[in-house]
Structure formats: C-alpha cells, structure tokens
C-alpha cells in the first residue's frame, strides 16, 4: 500500500514473519527469521507476529512464542492444506489491510519466492528478495535497510522501501541465526478466518511427491566437494559422493576430470562449466588453473586437499590440507560419521 505521508506510515506497526509450513510442520527458516524480527522489533519498539496459515498446524505454536513471537496470527483451514499461493496472497492482503504490519519477512524458499512477489504486486509493496542483511536505519526515517548481493555476488546493494507499507523482504534459510528458544516466553493467538473470496479458481495441487533420491544441485548446494585429476579415475568420485552425502552437498569436477571421462559434464565447474557459490567448497586433487578458479572463487570458504602445497588452489584456499586425498577423505568421512 502506498503511504506517502508520515501519518499514513504511522498506522503501520509490528514486524511479521510469515511461517513456512510443510505438511503441517513449521520449518526452521521461520525460527531464524523470528530471531531477526526480534532485533528489528526491539529497535522499532513494537511486536513480532508470526503468521501461520495452514491446516492442522496448531500443534507447534508454543515453539513460536519461545522463538520470540509476541503473537501468532493464525488462520487454520482445510483449504490451506496444500500450498496454493493465489489463495494465500489474497488472504494475506486482507490480513495486511486489517492489521497493518510495518515490516513483513518470509523465507526465500521455493514457496516463499512464489508467494511473496505475488503478494507484493497485489499489495503494492516494495520487496527485496534473498536479503543477506536486515537492519533498521536508526539515523533517519527508521526504515528497513535491506542488503543483498547482485551481479552474481560481485556487488552488495542496500535497498529501502520508503513510501510503501509493509516493507517486505525474503531471506534464504541458514542466512540468519535463530535465537536459543526461551521456554519462559508466552504470547497470544489471534485467530482469523478465510472467506470465500480468498479461494481462486485456477490451480490445484494434484499430488506432492517426496523425492528422497533427489540429488542436491551444484547451483543450490551449500557444500560442494569437487574432484580433479588427483582422483586418478572415476572410482575416486564415489568417495567424494560419500562425503557429500554426509554434509548434504553436491559433487563437482574440474575440466580435467570431465575430459578424462571420470565425471559427467553436468558436474563441471569452471569457465566452460558451471559457476558456483557454495558456503564451503572442498577441492580434492585439483591444481586450480585459472579457468577452474573462475567458476568457484566466490565460494564463502575454500578448502583444498592436495599433495602439492604449491598448487594454485592451495594458495587461494582459506584452509589447505597437505596430504593424500585418498587418506584424508576417508578420515573425514569417519570423523563425520562418529559425531
């Protein structure tokens, strides 16, 4: 909603976190956002509300109070069992019109990224996706400062939504940290109802398929374990797969390994392959030629395992392990399995 004057803006209070629920279970990104919402709300002197839309969700609500929600805005309805963002967007617009939050946060999950831009369009609000930082500008205007990377991570941008409320932002899972739950915290539940106008014609979820075999994709992977010529053959990649499975990561390869036929081209990282930005990149037996570095140098943390301490990737790495990857990787697997 457009809010040009100060008096219009003042009508909007509180920080909302729209909860992510999958099959009635509230996901951990919600707790992470509640932690950040608390920080923002304290600076604004207002409350944190958690918005929960679903069927059969009233089970885990206590948790939300422990995680800093002052209130839970709850709409429980069988029609909200599956994720139909058209319905949720209309419902949220009504809730926003009625309760007027100043800030609205949501996880930048597949669901969140489908819902919130649609909501922002309907509600005429500014939205910043995939924020890596959120703060209140205490110097002027008390606006939400939304920070996010752009241009493949080469630039950090700070964004504001000055004349529209609520100010909306999405944040990816595991970017913010949840606060430790405080079992003494209590809160109140505000119940709202769906109405006929919320439901659209237009889309139905016919069935949901859980893909337990699903391979983590390189581009989304938090951890990437990559192999190069040092692997000496395709069997080495099976070792990396084991390690990847333990950390929930994906397996990549250098051009040499792909060129030798040890790994599929889909795994190739580098100038003529994929560019990746995981949290942790573990390079095993990769020397680190320029065309490979181009594909992974934006990784948050680079770990290299190589017999040769002078290899370019060993020099670039944040952590360099000198040794035989065929000894170190099995030890890593053992260590991770122990704990």
């Amino acid at each position: 909603m457009q809010t040009k004057s100060a008096s219009e803006k003042e009508k909007y209070r509180n920080v909302w976190v729209v909860a992510e629920t999958v099959s009635g279970q509230i996901q951990s990104v919600t707790g992470e956002l509640l932690g950040k919402a608390r920080e923002l709300a304290d600076k604004r002197g207002c409350e944190v509300w958690c918005v929960v839309l679903g069927a059969g969700v009233s089970g885990g609500l206590e948790e939300l109070f422990h995680q800093q929600a002052d209130a839970v805005l709850l709409v429980e309805d069988q029609r909200l069992e599956s994720f139909v963002e058209e319905t949720r967007a209309r419902l949220l617009v009504r809730l926003i019109e009625k309760h007027r939050p100043e800030i609205l946060l949501c996880g930048a999950t597949v669901r969140g990224r489908a819902l919130v831009p649609r909501l922002a369009a309907l509600a005429w609000c500014g939205l910043t996706a995939d924020c890596t930082g959120l703060d209140i500008d205490t110097e002027s205007g008390s606006l939400l400062l939304q920070t996010r990377p752009a241009y493949g991570g080469n630039i950090i941008a700070t964004i504001k939504s000055e004349n529209h409320r609520p100010q909306m932002a999405t944040v990816r899972p595991r970017v913010m940290q949840a606060l430790s739950p405080d079992p003494k915290r209590r809160g109140r539940i505000i119940r709202e109802q769906m109405n006929g106008g919320d439901e659209p014609a237009g889309k139905r979820v016919l069935r949901s398929v859980r893909d337990t075999e699903a391979r983590v994709k390189l581009v989304d992977a938090r951890y990437i374990i990559a192999g190069g010529r040092g692997l000496k053959g395709p069997e080495g990649f099976k070792l990396l797969e084991q390690l990847a499975a333990l950390v929930g990561g994906a397996v990549g390869a250098s051009r040499s390994a792909v060129d030798a036929g040890w790994a599929a081209y889909q795994r190739q990282i580098g100038q003529t392959g994929q560019t990746v930005q995981p949290k942790v990149y573990i390079a095993c037996g990769i020397s680190g030629q320029i065309q490979h570095l181009v594909g992974m140098q934006s990784s948050d943390l680079i770990v290299a395992i190589n017999k040769d301490p002078e290899a370019p990737l060993m020099k670039l790495a944040d952590i360099a392990l000198v040794g035989d990857l065929f000894e170190i990787v099995p030890e890593l697997i053992r260590e991770l399995q122990r704990t």
Binding site: A121, L127, P309
Partner: protein
C-alpha cells in the same frame, strides 16, 4: 495457443566493478545476451506452439539495444516480438517492471500463457514472474521443471520443491516460470538468424500501454537502491594443515564447526 515469453537482455558476464570516481557500476565487457533462463522459457513456448498451433510472442522491457535479444528470440522460434521502451520506464524495480509487462500483455490481448525464466542473472531476484501474475490476477506456477499434459484450457505441470515436486493442474490463462531442467533450448541456425534480421519489431511506449505514470520507472518503484559497494575480498591468509591424515581430518572438522558450517 497465444503464448507470451518475457525476455530480458542482460550483460554476458556478471563481472562488475565500481567506478571509484562516479561510484556507479562499470560492467566488464560490452556483450549483452538474452538472459540464459529465458532461453528455456522461449523453448518451452515454441514446443507448446509446435504441439498445439498458435503463436509465440517475445516481449521485453528495456533500452533500445534490447532489440538484439528479441531478434535472438525470433531466431529461436518466436513468431513475433515487441519491445517496451520509454524513458519513463528507466530505473524500474521488479514491481514497476511487472506492472508494465502486465499492461503490455493486456494490450496484446487473448494471451493464454505467459512464460518467464526463473530469474535474471544480473538482478537475480526471481520476482518478476509471480509479480506479473499478481498484476494480471492470473494463476501462476513457479519453478516449473516439467510439463506433463497440455491441450485444452489447462496444463498439468511439475513444480519443483526443495523436497521433491508437486504435480499441479493449472487453468489458463496463467503465468509460469521455468527452471533449466525443463528442456534443452534449440540453438538458432544461421538461416533463422538471417531471417530474424529482417523482422520488424514494434516499440511500445508508456502512452501505448495506458499505464499510470506514478507507477513507472525510478519514481514509481516501491524499492530503491540507496547504496552499492563491491563484495568484500577474500582474506589473504591460508590456514595450512599438515600431518597424519586422521589429524588433518579432525582439525578440518573442528574448523568447520567453529565457523558454524557443520
């Protein structure tokens, strides 16, 4: 079937540096390309047209040089293309962009399906697709990874989820955004490329679309970038770990834990 595919022209490389004097972005390399995700959107549109008849219209909002991306779309199978260009559109955020695209789609008329790529490699917000659906008031499906059934007034599609996928029925008209798994985009032949050079691409301005001025461009955008700075450089110190394999492994795990990465 009348299908509109939204195209964005983006820089070929996302390498950018900050001009220390003007504090504005300097894009490395002048080459501009059709956003890679949009090639999948376009291919899907062309596949649907080949199966059911109709036409594919490539649509882009951008500076005049974005015409090159639209010609590329024509050489990949689009039947016609439209460029939305007006000084008033400059500086639009995703809200203002999807507002203008929606107006253009209404003006084209009788559109049954809008296909967008998942996100653009420069802004990479993934907001325009669902925002467009919101402005049009049409049902939407994002992260579409497969088309299972088409024909008639609805589509059956797979929507990717973190934990698998949802099989969804979608009534037309609708907006979908697609991910890379959905198809393998065809490579334009020289023949189709030469043919596309001759095509006329109309340019529509704000006046042609009947849009509200206050919702356009920098002034009409609800969000505004107030600051940009280069991403912090890597720390130069390498932590070297040597010794027995078991020790190395344990140390690494400890390091990762201490940085909250495990």
């Amino acid at each position: 079937m009348r299908i509109v595919v939204c195209i964005k022209q983006v820089p070929a490389s996302t390498g950018v540096s900050l001009d220390p004097e003007t504090k504005t972005l300097r894009r490395e390399g002048a080459e501009a390309i059709m956003n890679p995700f949009d090639t999948y959107a376009l291919e899907q549109g062309v596949l649907l047209k080949e199966a059911h008849g109709g036409e594919v219209i490539a649509l882009s909002m951008g500076p005049l040089r974005a015409e090159a991306a639209l010609r590329e779309a024509l050489s990949c199978g689009a039947d016609r293309a439209v460029l939305l260009n007006d000084r008033a559109f400059a500086g639009s955020d995703t809200w203002a962009t999807s507002y203008v695209l929606a107006a253009a789609i209404r003006r084209i008329g009788e559109v049954e399906l809008v296909i967008c790529g998942r996100q653009a490699i420069d802004g990479d917000t993934a907001q325009v697709g669902p925002g467009l659906a919101g402005h049009l008031g049409w049902p939407q499906l994002t992260h579409v990874c497969a088309l299972e059934e088409s024909g008639g007034k609805s589509l059956t599609l797979r929507r990717m989820q973190e934990e698998g996928y949802d099989l969804c029925g979608l009534e037309l008209p609708a907006v979908i955004t697609v991910v890379k798994d959905i198809n393998q985009p065809r490579i334009p032949s020289l023949k189709s490329r030469l043919a596309s050079k001759k095509a006329e691409i109309p340019v529509w301005s704000a006046a042609d679309l009947g849009v509200e001025t206050e919702k356009l461009g920098l002034a009409g955008s609800p969000t505004r970038v107030v600051k940009i700075h280069p991403a912090p450089c890597r720390q130069k110190q390498t932590l070297l770990i040597e010794g027995e394999a078991a020790e190395c492994a344990q140390r690494l795990v400890r390091e990762l834990r201490s940085r909250l990465l495990l």
